[in-house]
Amino acid sequence: GAGVSQTPSNKVTEKGKYVELRCDPISGHTALYWYRQSLGQGPEFLIYFQGTGAADDSGLPNDRFFAVRPEGSVSTLKIQRTERGDSAVYLCASSVGVDTGELFFGEGSRLTVL
């Protein structure tokens, strides 16, 4: 498809486990964003990539969270030693990357930590 693709759509894990969430942006989009959203709330900024580099990772809550984008396309958000408080929908968005353009979002990955 031509949109932003996120996998898995749903992930249930146990406290303390490691989780990876994948985002495949729109082809040609250089900017990629990760957000975290709780029910009924606005998305909370986690990290922003311009190309392969993390231009701003100030939203990552702590060192258990890490994200990569090695080839400037697909990105993976990695969460170590998951906690119940990490439960949320993790949204990925991409944009053309020139000026502040429209963010195109995926449908999100719903993470539940038991």
Binding site: Q41, G42, A55, T100, L103, F105, E107
Partner: protein, 111 residues
């Protein structure tokens, strides 16, 4: 930290009524966007406003950017059930296009 506060947080109205949603911040933004999100989906862009004082209309929706570029409003005329959703403002700043979302307004339009 740039905070964007939206009000009201929840709004339940009858079909045909008018409503206004507010988005306020103490920070100045280079531009401001409004998104609408439905359950199980990602937010979808409605509009981007760039100039202080700018007003944009999209059918029954009117968006305004404050003169100081710190606040914005969304007015819906004659709301319809299809307008139901979570409305999000998003402030854009920084040379690298950081986009910060507001707290959200959940709108329910009852037929």
């Amino acid at each position: 930290t740039q905070l964007l506060e939206q009000s009201p947080q929840f709004l339940s109205i009858q079909e045909g009524e008018n409503l206004t949603v507010y988005c306020n911040s103490s920070s100045v933004f280079s531009s401001l966007q409004w998104y609408r999100q439905e359950p199980g989906e990602g937010p979808v862009l409605l509009v981007t406003v760039v100039t202080g004082g700018e007003v944009k209309k999209l059918k029954r929706l009117t968006f305004q950017f404050g003169d100081a570029r710190k606040d914005s409003s969304l007015h819906i005329t004659a709301a319809q059930p299809g307008d139901t959703g979570l409305y999000l403002c998003a402030g854009c700043s920084g040379g690298y296009q950081k986009v910060t979302f507001g707290t959200g307004t959940k709108l329910q339009v009852i037929p």
